[in-house]
Amino acid sequence: MELIYPYPGKRPVIIVSIEDVLTGNRYFFQMLLDTGAERTCFPARYAASFGHDNHHKDVKAHEMHGLGGSCKCYSHSVRLGLIDPVKSTAANLVIAWKSKLERASFAEKLDCGFGLLGMDIMSEWSSVTFSGKSGGGRIKILI
């Protein structure tokens, strides 16, 4: 299956569904396709918006490393999904694909309005292609 997403601006960002594995509640969030990220992560301050608590006793914390040095991350049970950009309508949002991976990290130092969709998720796809200029472009995902 081929999924094509337009993106405005400089960054290859798509809107992804975030399913809370514990409750089944679904949210949508912007994510940058980041081939340099080994793990998919979100800004830690958004965990509560997706029904999770970074300070719950059962939440495992770990460290990740990047340009800003090391930072504390919280691991939460979420599953990512891709919206079908053609079949979806306002009345019927079609999720074309769901990740096998059911965990993602919420990083304290990640302070931006989007998450990083990393290679742990992208490696579940057959291919991903970027095309476009600085004013926008499109992302083609084969699953």
């Binding site: 997403y5 337009p6 993106y7 405005p8 960054r11 809107i15 509640n25 679904r26 949210y27 949508f28 969030f29 912007q30 940058l32 980041d34 340099g36 990220a37 301050r45 958004y46 509560a48 918006s49 997706f50 029904g51 990047g66 340009l67 919206i83 950009p85 053609v86 979806s88 309508t89 306002a90 009345a91 949002l93 931006c112 309005g113 989007f114 990083l116």
Partner: protein
């Protein structure tokens, strides 16, 4: 225009209208459910509202050059 294209367009308009806030939008109706600068407070409101299919987003700072 596809639904996805409309969603991206509505989100961009909302980000222009609320440049410093986190925005919660109904993904079906494109109605703004809540906005606020404090993400924790917004999350508590969102929990109380129990609104299904919401998009949570914030305008990235246009002056920030991101290296991720």
């Amino acid at each position: 225009m596809t639904y996805y294209g409309k969603l991206v367009q509505r989100m961009n308009k909302s980000m222009e209208a609320h440049p410093r806030s986190t925005i919660v939008m109904d993904a079906n109706t494109f109605e703004i459910v809540a906005t606020g600068a404090n993400t924790s407070r917004l999350a508590r409101r969102l929990k109380k509202l129990h609104h299904p299919n919401v998009v949570v987003f914030q305008r990235p700072n246009p002056n920030h050059i991101m290296v991720l």
